[in-house]
């Protein structure tokens, strides 16, 4: 624990060193020989302003893809993790299937899953198969991220000490009751930060759906850049992605903090 004086001094040093560092960085970049050209093609304010409205509109599709995919992933990944934690030889086939699934979809590059599903599934020409590229993009993201997120959940489940399950079972709770009320609540709380990490990844990977032709933020900025021979629209899209990620990160911090506070707070 530092005293108040040491704390103020620490803040001052941090501010000073930050200012010095970024000033040096800015000087180095703006004095590079190619800087005027880079500034014109990547940081053109007028271009930024004119392309932003359309890219923002296209970005809503990214948000939509993200929200739909995330809702499914959260549930499916938990199911997959639970299946993989089932004890006993009876459940071996289900565990094996779960392992095969996770291995496959973590191994194949996301862009390939998107391409295979997005181009392949509609090509089957089955009347009940949707033709929407966005639909298949979302399905591909769900398949891939369910594999990743189930691993996160599984790590959480395994981090809960077996004595917790033993305590629950010894009170007469069934395996499922123990899992639902004792093991999973603790497991999920512990993995909230890594879960967020995967969701930031998912948020960014929504841009891959543009590969199928869905006009989301990246595709839209590509269109703009091609039309104007200027790359500023990419910067605009990047700004939007970052702007969505930061609130999500702070929200997770808040969730973790709230849980810790509640556990440490004295009862009313």
């Amino acid at each position: 624990m530092t005293s108040a004086g040491e704390g103020r001094r620490g803040v001052t040093v941090a501010v000073l060193s930050t200012v010095v560092f970024f000033t040096l960085l800015a000087v180095a970049i703006t004095h590079a020989p190619g800087w005027p050209e880079v500034r014109r093609t990547f940081f053109n304010w007028n271009q930024f302003k004119s392309s932003m409205p359309e890219i923002s509109r296209a970005f809503l599709l990214n948000v939509k893809i993200f929200m739909i995919a995330e809702a499914f992933i959260l549930v499916l990944a938990l199911l997959l993790a639970v299946v993989r934690s089932l004890p006993g030889p009876v459940f071996f086939p289900m565990r094996a299937l779960g392992i095969a699934y996770a291995d496959f979809f973590r191994g194949v590059p996301t862009i390939l899953v998107i391409a295979l599903l997005g181009f392949g599934a509609p090509a089957l020409q089955l009347s009940w198969v949707p033709l929407s590229t966005t639909f298949w993009g979302i399905v591909a993201l769900i398949l891939v991220y369910t594999a990743y997120v189930s691993e996160v959940y599984r790590a959480g489940i395994e981090s809960v000490h077996p004595s917790q399950d033993a305590a629950a079972r010894s009170l007469g709770l069934s395996h499922w009751q123990s899992l639902r009320k004792v093991v999973l609540p603790q497991a999920v709380r512990r993995v909230i930060p890594p879960l967020l990490n995967d969701f930031i990844g998912l948020q960014k990977d929504t841009a891959l759906v543009g590969f199928l032709g869905s006009v989301e933020a990246f595709k839209q900025s590509q269109i703009d850049a091609a039309a104007t021979f200027n790359y500023t629209p990419f910067v605009a899209a990047a700004v939007l992605f970052v702007a969505l990620t930061i609130p999500l990160a702070r929200f997770t911090d808040w969730l973790v903090l709230r849980d810790r506070r509640r556990r440490q707070a004295a009862g009313a």
């Binding site: 079972r169 009170l171 609540p185 556990r263 009862g267």
Partner: protein, 248 residues
Amino acid sequence: MSEALVVDGVRKSFGQLEVLRGVDLAVEEHEVVCLIGASGSGKSTLLRCVNLLEPIDEGRIVVEGLEITDRGVDVNRVRRRIGIVFQAYNLFPHMSVLANVTLAPRLALRMPHAQAEAEATTLLGRFGLADKRNDYPDRLSGGQQQRVAIVRALAMKPDLMLLDEVTSALDPELVAEVLEVIRELAAAGMTMLIATHEMSFARDIADRVCFLDEGVILEQGPPEQILSEPKEPRTQQFLQRIIEAGRL
């Protein structure tokens, strides 16, 4: 008197290591039996076997006339009648004290919420924990946590309580409050099988003391006899070490 628990020729191995090598033990209703013996002698394993947390390799265990080691026995139903308290408390850290105590009655006995809370509150009050009902386990001392763990087991109204070195993880000044709770249970007629290192407590509370050595009950009898005039050389050695450690 009828027998609350019969352990008959129980054997249990973990891999190559045979931890229980034919244990025979009978506990009568309202009887308090203390298991003593060195670490690794099989005390904890025996308790975990009685609660079906560990499957046994050989022998049988009968609780209140029901052979619980029989195939096809509903283990959840059996465990509801047998309370166990662990050395490390094993409270659920994400739940308040009240939720810890009411969880099993609500889920396993399907007791209505209000009734479970009322009964839990009464029990907590009886053991001096009424003001802790809304606290989370992190906030409690070790002694308080262990008392909550005992209350949590009692909330299922068990016929038999198994206590697995419940004071071993506690700071010395917190041991007394937990032992006091166990004394009260004994006075109320609870049938208990207690693994313990507290020899003076065993002498005080036990109707019978069993000395476990390398997976068998080597010697048993009234506490004054086992703890003061043991017949077996192994028991004498064990107690000698305890005395040298200043624990008797």
